[in-house]
Amino acid sequence: MSEPFLIGDCMTGGYGAGPDILHGCTISVDRGEIAVIVGPNGAGKSTAMKAVFGMLNVREGAVRLDGQDITKLSPQDRVIKGMGFVPQTQNIFASMTVEENLEMGAFIRPDDFRDTLEQVYDLFPILRDKRKQAAGELSGGQRQQVAVGRALMTKPKVLMLDEPTAGVSPIVMDELFDRIIEVSRTGIPILMVEQNARQALEIADKGYVLVQGANAFSGTGKDLLADPDVRKSFLGG
């Protein structure tokens, strides 16, 4: 079996010189897939994603992108390699306009990025209407769209979302999930961390349940939703 496009393989590590938070945790996403990381509070979901993005000191294991070992690269270098990351909080430039946010997303691109800008506007039409407005004045759901749009501006080969629906209403959450599926249809693999486990697993091709920094269950989204153990422990029956 060929290796997935992006894989964090048996990662063990923690922040700086601090204690290990991940213990042999494996997370991957393949082309055309949506992979979702779920789990109880404090399970290390966001930490696992940050480890894949290089914001953590990975002491054992490796991170590989398209077969290339990128374990030692800084987050900035991983962006250049084609990884797009949307942090959970403070993921926009609040004082700048929507369009400027997107321009800053494309900062590392030396070429003309107007095509990509149009694509992002087609994907998130509301951003086109509000492009001259300060991003900080938008609603929670719109801000998340700005954040995802900013990450898309580099034309990433893989997109990583850290709890994109944190703090938005259920209606907005549904809309955001729809948008994420649309982004995925453009061919970008998506790896995301989610609190709303049930909805997230419904759209996931692959799901990981983490407990205390290690893989507890993994499988397709449907399998996990059907698994009685997973249902009992994390989905409330």
């Binding site: 900035q76 942090p87 403070q90 430039f93 004082s95 580099t154």
Partner: protein
């Protein structure tokens, strides 16, 4: 009652000086606010950066004057300004490399950088006095007045004269040009936008591939230019004396804080708020009120709220009031 003379007297003694002084404060406060927004500390050495840049400009002006070069009615200092900016730019980049960069790499707290900047302030202060001496220096030349009080009286036939010094007019025009250029740079160019992005959200700026060292370097160069221009304009308007720039630190910080630290628009607004407060509170209103009010109500005293010796107290009081009631300033600055 004589409103026309009242307005002329008001313009002559309050409006014109306050607008010129406000422009100088605004340019100074812009430098402070940029450093605060991007390097995230209050730069106490800013006053002495102004002194250093102005000193280099004064030196160059003297040399130009000795060579017989001049700008006719305009002060020769304008010609020397680019040299002063380069000298100040060299100073701040060297300081950054030798001092601030170390603390940046240590990820020191802002309060530590503030103390560090005070050290830099004393050193710069010493360098300036060592080179040019502590006494007052004259370097203004060219036409002294755009309109002198006597000409104005002859032209209008009024009792009161309105004098506009060339330096005041140059101050305001230069300030407008510089501010327009700065805002164009910050809002329209890629580098300017990356500076705003870095100021807004450092982590996300790093994720977007913005190089922090480059942002810091560009910021220092802009600040050096702003400081030199502000310092030279102030020196032209009054006289050049190293100590006055140290004293200017208080009104400059008051301006930046009134407007909201980190907000360029706020720095400009704050500069004028502080300048107008200072001038109106320390001005003796007897003359203006004598014209504006019926004779029976004309004041006997000077109607001066505070002696000019206490002008810095005005900045201080404004500072205290703002910090008590609206610490983020008029334009919602930030706090680190």
């Amino acid at each position: 009652m004589d409103f026309l003379n009242a307005i002329v007297a008001l313009s002559n003694f309050v409006l014109v000086p306050a607008i010129a002084y406000g422009s100088q404060l605004a340019l100074g406060a812009l430098g402070v606010t940029l450093i605060y927004g991007i390097l995230r500390f209050s730069n106490f050495a800013h006053g002495d950066t102004m002194a250093f840049g102005a000193m280099a400009t004064v030196g160059m002006t003297w040399w130009l004057q000795s060579m017989g070069v001049n700008l006719g009615p305009l002060p020769t200092a304008l010609l020397a300004l680019p040299f002063g900016i380069m000298a100040a730019g060299f100073l701040v980049l060297m300081t950054d490399r030798m001092v601030y960069r170390f603390y940046r790499q240590q990820k020191s707290k802002p309060v530590i950088l503030v103390i560090v900047s005070m050290g830099v302030m004393f050193i710069t202060n010493g360098i300036v006095r060592f080179i040019i001496g502590p006494q007052e220096r004259q370097f203004a030349d060219g036409e002294r007045f755009l309109i002198s009080a006597r000409d104005f009286k002859q032209m209008t036939g009024l009792d009161e004269g309105l004098a506009i010094k060339t330096t005041q007019a140059i101050t305001v025009i230069t300030a407008i040009i510089i501010v327009a250029l700065l805002f164009w740079f910050l809002n329209k160019t890629r580098t300017g936008k990356s500076m705003r992005a870095y100021s807004d959200n450092e982590d996300l700026a790093l994720l977007s591939g913005i190089n922090p060292e480059r942002v810091v370097m560009v910021t220092w160069l802009i600040v050096a230019a702003l400081a030199t221009i502000a310092g030279t304009l102030y020196g032209l308007d009054k006289t050049f004396k190293p100590f006055t720039y140290f004293q200017l630190l208080l009104p400059i910080f008051a301006s930046a804080i009134v407007g909201g630290l980190g907000s360029p628009v706020g720095a400009i607004a704050g500069g004028f708020v502080v300048a107008f407060s200072e001038v109106t509170i320390t001005y003796a209103w007897k003359k203006v009120l004598g014209y504006a009010m019926p004779d029976s109500l004309a004041p006997d005293g000077l109607v001066q709220l505070l002696s000019t010796d206490y002008k810095f107290a005005v900045s201080f009081v404004i500072l205290v009031i703002v910090l008590l009631f609206k610490p983020t300033g008029l334009f919602n600055g930030k706090a680190y």
